[in-house]
Each structure stands twice: as C-alpha cells, then as structure tokens.
Amino acid sequence: MERIKCGCGHVNPHGTLLCEACGRSLTGTGAPELLDMRYEGSARRSQTYNKTFIDKVWNFFSSVKVGIWLIVITLIASGIGTIFPQKMYIPQFVPASEFYEQKYGWPGKLYYILGFHELYSQWWYMILIALIGVSLVVCSLDRAVPLFRALKAQRVDRHESFMKGQRIFGITKGENFDEAVKAVKRNLKKKRYRIREENHAILAEKGRFSRWGPYVNHIGLIIFLFGAMLRFFPGMYVDEVIDIKEGERKEIPGTDGEYYLENKQFILEVYDEKENEAFSEALKKTGDVAKNYQTDVVLYKRKGERVPGAEAGLIKEKEYSIQVNNPLKFDQYAIYQMDFKTVLSAMNFVLVEKETNEPLGEINISLDNPKMRYNLGNGYTVEILKYYPDFDLDDEGLPVTLSRDPNNPAFVFEMYTPDKPEGEISLVAIQQTVEPVGENKYKMQFAGIETKTVSILALRKDLTLWIFALGGLIFLIGLSLGSYWNHRRIWIQQRGPDIWLAAHTNKNWYGLKRELQTVLAGTGINEPEDRNEKKGK
C-alpha cells in the first residue's frame, strides 16, 4: 500500500492532501493560497482506489454530487406528482383511467399513462429513495472515518504552510509575549476552549462534536428509511377500512376475527352561533361548521374458536368514544374516525284509495330485512312481491337490482283490499309508480324515509412506528449538533520574537472573529486578518 510520509514524520494514508498531524500540504504545490479545509484535507478513500467493479460502484455512490443529483431528481419527480391529485384522492366512482383524461384533458391522460397518478408507490420512485439511502451510507462511511482519523491525529504544532493557509491569520511582531500568551490562554479557557500545548505552540479547540452532526443525522435518516422498508413486509403494517352502521356489530377486518366492534351511535355536532359570538360572522357566511365527529363503540374480544358465519362468543373489552384526533387503541391496533355517510334504513308507505285519497293504513319497511306481508287490518293486506334494493332497468327495460345495497329501493306491491280481493299490482320506486297490469283503484303512497349513519373508521396496526420515531429523533439530534454548534480551533505559535495566530471554524466566521476580538482584547496581540474580506475589497 502506497503511503505518504510527511516531513514531520507522520505517515498518512494514500490520497491525503494535508498531513494529518502537522497540516503541511502534501500535494507538492505548496501555494500560499487558502487551504481547502473540508474534511481536513484527509483522504477520501473512494477517490484513491478505483480498480475493481465494486470499487467503481462504491465510488459512484460516494460522490456528494451523485447524492445531490438524486435529491434533485426526487424533488422534481415529487413535484410533478402534485400537479394532479393522486389516485387515492380522486372520487372513487370514476375509474382512474377515465378520470384524469376527462378532468384534465391530454395532460391528464399523459399523467395517467406515465404512472404519475400513483407516483409514490411506483417502483422507480422507490428505487430513487433507496438510492438516496445507499448514497447516505456510502458517503458517510467514506468521509466520517478519515475525518475522525485526521482530527484524532492532529498535532498542536502545525507547519508554517498550514498556518499561512488559514483564512484567519495574523502575525504580531514584538519581543516578549509570555504574559500575553498567558492572558490569551486564560481568556480562551473562559470561553470553554480545550487547550493543548507543545513546544511554544498552542491549540485551542472547542465544539469538535459538532463535526459529527452530519453523520449522526445521516444515521437517523438511514434508520428512518429502514423503517419505511420494513413496512412493506407482511404483518408489520395493517390498514383496513371499517364501514359500520349504527347498531351494527361486526368482526374487525385485519384482526383475524380476534376482535368485534359495535357501533352504538354516531354523533355529528355543529357549531352554534351562541357559543362564541366571535364565530358568528364566519358561520353566517359558510353555514354549518362541524364541531365533532364521534362514534360511540363497544369493543369485544372473541372467545373460543373462530368459524366464519357462526355467532361468535364475545367478551366485552371496552366502551369508547372515537373522535377525530382521539383514536381507540387496543392491543397493537388503533381505530380512527375517518368519515361517515348516511344510508336509507327504512321506508314508509300509506295505502290510499286514489279517488278519495283516504289513507287506509301505513307500513314501515326495513330495507335490511323487509317482511313478505304487511297486515293493515280491516281486510287490507300488502304483500311485497319483489324488492329491488338498488333499482334500475336492464337492457330489455325490465326492473333489476344492481347490488344488495339499498341505494335506490323499489318495490312491487300487491295490494289486497276488500273490494279487490284478487289483488292489484304496482311497482313503486323513488318518485315513480308503474301499474303494469291496468289501472289500479289503490296506491301505495310514499310517506317518508328513515336513515342511519354509517361510520367510516380506519383500523391501523403499525409495528414500525417506533423505528420512525427513533430515526427522526436521531436525525434531529444530529441536525442540531451540526447546526447550532461550531467547531472552532485557534492556533497560536511563538516563532522567534513573533506571535503567529491562525483560526478556523466550520461555520459562523463572524462569531469566531468576535470571539477572537474578546479573547485578544488588551493582550497586545493583534487581531488577525480575515483574508477573504481582504480579497473582497
């Protein structure tokens, strides 16, 4: 292995720019320009070994440029994904293949064809994120290790060229600075610098840990991405929708029949103007504003073996009021209030003699469980011959039902009356009555509906949450370390009668300069120059 031995005796890894120990430039040019202090001029492994295929792949991902490109591509793709709504946010009754073209024209069609309507679960989008993850790992490893080495190996006594190469550098000419140096040391200690001394040279350093901030936050991100990865594996993440009608009790999907839920009632409250007069203007303009969505539920646990279809033995676990922002939690599951809808539950009809409009009795038909025959007394009976919960006409114009849900109920009644004992037939749908076999004497007159509310709840189980939380926490800690603390170093050397002073910080030069001002005040050592500023003028 090719290694570089510096004039000071320190052996550096191949590819090192500045000697790890004394800071001498090893590239040979030794120009008096400012030194590039990124990564302390240490060897980034990747740039130096480039032999095998593996090395080439490694080097590719080790480049920050590649990492930035990946970020930029992800950023642009994500932005395109918001031009039109994602598939999960479009109305469900229109198929996606038609929706985008209808609503947005040919750009919408293109959007759909290219798969942007489900962008965030596209394989290539996922690979993009994954590549960022790979880049994070490789970049961090490739830089953190040498940086750690270099900061550990740094010597107090730096080479002349290193001192001269710093952005903040100054020479104070004079005679005896012993007192001044002592005073500076005192001041530095007050500013909480750690001070090391070696033959007339001083290195004052603080906040080195802030250099690890970026690597710590990258570890956090990697943990976060790991959590995102785990979520795709079966059992880690369950996501189900529960539609549950008031009064209904059903198995909770996604729990393997382990739990049952009963919806006792759904509550919808709206704001009242009287509650707070500050709201009155807004309420006047927008009308009702919802105040509370709540489903009062009872949670049951199944007892004994599970056989689909059978009445399960249940043990009551708890009663709870699920609200938005207040999910029901049990076991590893949580149930959230998502939405609600109103459905028809019953219809009322009155048997009427058409001519006199005389009501002869009212019936109430449960749409979930209608009876065959309703006896109205006095010799009046109504029989339901046909029930179409989701009424429509087929191609031949015959009545059919489209599903079993009572979206548009229709009935074929047979009305038995004392004067028409053989019965009269009529088809009654919402807002229409058909009398298929001749004019009737009686009719079933619509007399109202009853509705029930269906709560739409979501069941979630997410075993990966704590990983995300951990990753997020580590990321924030790392980010704070790197952002709110600075790594500052001040080198002071007594060279003959003169004092050389150089300083470096990874950021906030203004702060460093102000600190130097206070540290040097009254010691007789001149404030060093900021050579960037000089250049700028």
């Binding site: 709504p85 994602q86 946010y89 807004a282 609200q323 995300f468």
Partner: protein, 394 residues
C-alpha cells in the same frame, strides 16, 4: 376583543411602514462606521419602531387567540399574518446578532407585502373543524411558521447580497434574473392593489358555465373578466371576457393571475421609467456599505438555524399529528409533498455549500429559490392544488 385585535394589526402595519425610512436613513451615507453617532440614532429609531410594531403585532395575535379560544393559525389569513410576525421576530433576533440595518430595509417591505397579502383572504374568526381541535395545531403550525420565517431572512439577506454583487454595468444573465425576482415581488403588490381596488368598488360578475363533465355551474368573479369560463354566459356584470378558457382550467384563478401580472408589469415599467435603469441597479447604492461576506454569512446561517426548526415543525410535528388525526403519518397530500420538497431542497443547498463549496452568489440564488418554493407551498398549493391542508372554507 376581535376589534381590538384588528386595530393592533393595523398599528403594527403602520409602525413597520414607518420604520423603513429610518432603516434607509441608517445606511444612507457612505463610509460610515458603526460608532458614528447620528447614523446610530437612525438605526436605533428604526429598530425601536420595528420592535414596537412587533409588540402590537404580538398583541393582535394574543387578543385574537383570546377572542377565538384557539391559536389564530387556523386559516390562511391567520397563518400568513403569523408568518409575518415570525419573520419580524427572526429579523429582530438576527439584527441583534449582526446589527445590519440594511437587512431591515429588505425584510420589512417583504413583511408588509405578506401582511397586506393576508388581508386579501377572509378575516373572519372561524371555528375549528374536528381535525384541527388539538394542541398539535398550535405546536405544528407555530413551529412551521417560525422555521419558514427564519428561512425568509435567508432570502432577504441573499437578496441584499445579489443586489450588491450582481454586475449592473451591462445586461447579463444574473441581473436579468434579479429583475425577474423583483418583478414577481411587484406582481404580488399588483395582486394586492387590484384586489383592494375592485373590492372597494364592490365589483362582481357572475357566469353560468359548463364544466368538463358537462354540468352547469355558476362562478362569481371579483375582478373584471379578461378570461371567461368555458361556454360562459354573463349573468351579472358589464364586461364580456376577451377570451374563453377551456373547461379543464379554472378560469377565475387564471383571470386573477393575469390581472396581478399585468399590474405587476405596469408597476415595473413605472419604476423603470422613474429610475431610468434596472430596479436592481436602482437599489444597488442602498447596499453600498454592506459587507457582502456578511450578507452571505447571514443568509447561510439563517438556513442553518431555520432548517432544523422547519424539519421539526413541518415534518416531525406534522407527522406526529397526521398519525393521530388521519391514522397515517404520511399520506402524500400535496402540502406534505411540498414540505418534503422544501426540505430536500434545503438539504441539497447545505450539501452544495458544505461539500461542493457553493458560496457567495450561487448560494444566494439557492436561498432565493428555496424561499420561492416556500411561497409556492404557501400560496399555490393552498389555492390551486388543494388537499387536506387547504384550510377548507377559507
């Protein structure tokens, strides 16, 4: 209480406005040093006015909170005024770190535009819909606004840097882009001007039109229709539109954008006419004695300070709340995606600066783009794209 609150906001606006000439005075002369007395007085008065304005602004926030019973960050008007409040707060903080009056000259006009822009939306105190009824509303939104405000300071510092640095001797790419940025800021002013104008005259035009699904709809314009809706029939109002938009485009919004941009163009031409040079060139003397390294550093440091705050507020707190309210911490809602885009952009910014050595002008342009993304998320995503975060009803 609600009235007191509105008055306090008005007072804050006036105080900010009156602080600007003092900031201008503080940097007026050349070759000054910080110790020179008369100029120091200008700067002191300026910062005093700003802080008094800030106090009044804070008073608005507190009294409105008391009146509503919840933190006034629940609709667009409230959020934007709060964003303005945070920006002034961040400016005061940075001012005491760096003491650069010229920053005030850049920040305060931006804040004034922000507050005036907020005033274009419904100012009613609205009750909270169920998802918003949690302390996470306060925590999430306040942290986000704070983070974005600090990043806004980075924009202001970058703008100063660019005005100072960009060569104005002849036309080049940099000074043209700088004009574009300034023009866009003028267009926001344009939007405010036309909105206030047509509002004052109670302008209204109503159209019956056909949407892309063939259904009839009605739409009310607040500005004279340059662009009418698809197959639109003017039901109320005087002017017939010059052009008709296809059904897939929201004609009303397009019309507003065109009015704003046209007014922006007029304002721009007027300004050019008065100064007889590029606006950037006209502003350049104001930055005469600012140290450009310092502007660069303020811009970068604001990003460093603001980025973690933004991450915490927008992403971390946002995720926690989404997990509680919507059962998932991430749902690819447009606002979420744009917060992610903002985050990715600033991450790229920091990497370019730290690893690729992008300092100075390039870094300043990035700070400008970053702020543009934040504004896009605040304005366009709320008004145009619409998702779960769109402050329904506002």
């Amino acid at each position: 209480m609600a009235e007191l609150s509105s008055n306090l906001l008005m007072i804050a606006f006036i105080l900010y406005l009156s602080a600007i000439p003092f900031f201008g005075g503080a940097i007026r002369q050349k070759n000054i040093s910080k110790t020179e007395k008369p100029l120091k007085i200008w700067a002191t008065v300026a910062i005093f006015l700003t802080m008094t304005g800030f106090a009044a602004h804070l008073g608005y926030f507190i009294t409105r909170w008391l009146a509503a019973g919840h933190a006034p960050v629940s609709n667009l008007f409230e959020f934007i005024t709060f964003f303005g409040l945070c920006t002034v707060g961040a400016f005061i903080l940075i001012h005491f770190l760096y003491r650069t009056p010229v920053l005030g000259l850049a920040v305060l006009p931006v804040v004034l535009i922000i507050i005036a822009y907020a005033g274009m939306f419904s100012r009613d105190i609205s009750p909270l819909i169920p998802p918003l009824q949690t302390y996470w509303l306060q925590i999430h939104v306040i942290t986000v606004a704070l983070g974005q405000a600090i990043l806004a300071i980075s924009f202001a510092a970058a703008l100063i840097f660019l005005v100072k640095k960009v060569d104005q001797t002849r036309r080049n790419k940099s000074n043209v882009w700088l004009e574009v940025v300034l023009f866009l800021m003028l267009s926001v002013v344009g939007f405010i001007v036309v909105s206030v104008l047509f509002n004052a005259f109670h302008y209204s035009a109503v159209f019956q039109w056909t949407n892309q699904f063939g259904a009839e709809e009605s739409v009310e314009y607040g500005m004279p229709p340059l662009i009418g809706p698809n197959e639109g029939q003017l039901v109320k109002g005087q002017f017939e539109p010059f052009l008709e938009a296809p059904a897939i485009i929201d004609a009303k919004k397009l019309n507003t954008v065109i009015w704003s941009l046209s007014t922006g163009i007029i304002l721009y031409i007027l300004t050019r006419f008065i100064f007889r040079k590029r606006i950037g060139a006209a502003l350049k003397p104001l930055t005469g004695n600012i140290n450009e390294d310092l502007a660069d550093e303020i811009s970068y440091r604001s990003v460093l300070i603001g980025f973690p705050v933004f991450t915490l507020g927008a992403l971390v707190f946002g995720m926690i709340w989404a997990q509680i309210a919507w059962s998932r911490f991430w749902g690819w809602d447009p606002k979420e995606v744009w917060a992610l885009i903002t985050w990715l952009f600033y991450a790229a910014f920091l990497h370019l600066r730290l690893s690729k050595g992008w300092h100075g002008e390039r870094s300043a342009w990035l700070a400008v783009i970053g702020f543009a993304i934040i504004m896009f998320n605040l304005v366009a995503v709320n008004l145009v794209i619409k998702g779960l975060h769109s402050y329904a009803g506002a």
